[in-house]
Amino acid sequence: MAVKKEKHPMPEQDSKERIKNFNEVPYGYSKETAIEEAKRCIQCKNSPCTKGCPVEIDIPEFIKELAEGKIDKAVEVLKSKTALPAVCGRVCPYENQCEGECTLNKIGDPVGIGRLERFLADYERKKGMINPKKLKPTGKKVAVVGAGPAGLTCAGDLAKMGHKVVVFEALHAPGGVLMYGIPEFRLPKAIVHAEVDFIKKLGVEIHYDVVVGKTITVQELLEDYDAVFIGTGAGLPRWLNIPGESLDGVYSANEFLTRVNMMKAYDFPHHCTPCTVGGVAATFGAGNVAMDCARTSLRMGAKKSYIIYRRTEKEMPARNEEIHHAKQEEVIFKLLTNPVEFIGDEKGKLKAVKCIEMKLGEPDESGRRRPIPIPESEFTIKIDTALVAIGQNPNPLVPKSFKELETEKWGNLKVDEKGQTTVPGVFAGGDIATGAATVILAMGAGKKAARAIDEYLKKKKK
């Protein structure tokens, strides 16, 4: 039987409706569609898909089980490698990873691996998650700093190896960027909570309100624990550094998304944290976070939402799927445009942004063509809300409080290929080590570090 060339489509909320709510946009596959899609996999010998997966999921194996209708078995294969499958099945850039490597790309669409992962995770969660087996404790204790994707993955893997793990989280909720950054309509928070609950069932303890570097130091953790993993992320927002950036109405993407996602400002005043979005919103930047900001601003009441970006669509760092969804929701893309000044009214409230037109020049060190301003091309756009989404630097709290931890150019922790920092027994991974990247790369780093920590603990025993 010939393989169907197209991926099975995933039904989603109509774009006119969904900009009025925070419900998830894609609905996910039904059981029947999932099995049909799984059957598209030709189980090729060299399985290139697995090479593209930072958390080493045995992709052909779980697809095989699913194609045969053995859903529980498929879930087991999946969860033996990832503790956050419902998250990965939603936010992973599959097109560059597993699906990007799929053999079917030669004849048509790749197998919808991401959609299948999401289906299995959702199916199991709705059915009631299977309790993991209790392991024989090794007697070793590991402290994990930060309950984001890197920390949670590291914690889950270490617990599966029988180590006692305590996670210290500065905020009042787990998940890190999964909770404060990624919007509800892309990653429902109930799903994050459910996956964190599973990690807790593995025996992992999470302590909230503990700001490591302030409430307790890494040095103190080393006295009570056999090893420490640092996964404190890229929490420091970058600014445009143009006049008017402190006007009322200009937010960092982090502040805006934290208010709306983690503090649930969309449910104000029932939830007490306010967040105001005026008639016209403009987001600066064109990564996934920028798409999240632009789409969130519509749901928060903006009548018009711009993405203002200094290069062209080709250079945009966001995933195609995110750009596609933003366009469907009628986000207006102002490309080859760079802001030069925010303009406020007499009360200091933002009322406009002055921009300049750009053209592309020679490629720069990133390989992308460098944008150059076109002289005397300035123009003004009336806006009420500005969202600055041009990236984050690593969170400086931990490095600042522990000088022996060496850092690199952008303030990221220096680590070797195993995640070992410059202090013995202290490991790090995710955005704090690499600079801002993706959820799945942070998870991959957490996984690798868990293995290195396990090795370190075994050596230490002798």
């Binding site: 503990v210 409430t215 007490c272 400086p396």
Partner: protein, 275 residues
Amino acid sequence: MYEILEKRALSDNVKLMKVKAPLVARKALAGQFIILRIDEEGERIPLTIADYNRKKGTITVIFMEVGKTTKQLGIMEVGDKLLNFAGPLGAASEIEKYGNCVMIGGGVGIAPLYPIVRELKKAGNHVISILGARNKSLLMLEKEIEEFSDELHICTDDGSKGKKGFVSNVLQEIIDSGKKIDIVWAIGPVIMMKVVAELTKKYDIKTMVSLNPIMVDGTGMCGGCRVTVGGEIKFACVDGPEFDGHKVDFDNLMLRNRRFLKEEEHACKIAGVKV
């Protein structure tokens, strides 16, 4: 959960609370702050630490009931518990032997001034404290601050206690008396800090101010608390809350502190609390 162990009204709308938070108390230093959240729907608000007791594991906060959260906090009682209480956050005051220190507290700003006064006195400084408020009922911690001060000046806008006038008038008198001042701390309403900083700048007296912008996470992540200091963007939560008063753009701070006034009013109305 963090239990309220003690509660006292310092005036009509200013309350003192002692909260059980041993991890925070273990590390707290003068000049730092905490972030609390009352319940699942609550917002995160910063409050400067007014005192700490490491042995008992308690943190004292003093707050004025100005918005929805502080009003809700104000009606909580001993035995009630707060859902979140994180800290100590921010950089501590730089305590060293400066010589003559003039310590200025205005209204509810007297609360965070107190532990700094105490630590500076313990460090061997000559401490002159100036406490001011709109009226007598808004003054606080006079006895506590007096204990660690070599001189104490009180003033009120309406003359109901101490001298009639502003803290800046008293400071001017001290400067005019020819007494050498090595450093000034000023904590209170933004306008008070601005006036004090403008005055001391004329005489080139180093002046520290403690800023209180709107915050969300308190760990340097959101930048909601950004202030312009010496022409650069600084985050009050990690770079402050104390800054060199001569470099702070107070006008921008005042503007940013008004960001959610309308929403605050709306929330208070819905919740049935008067603004």
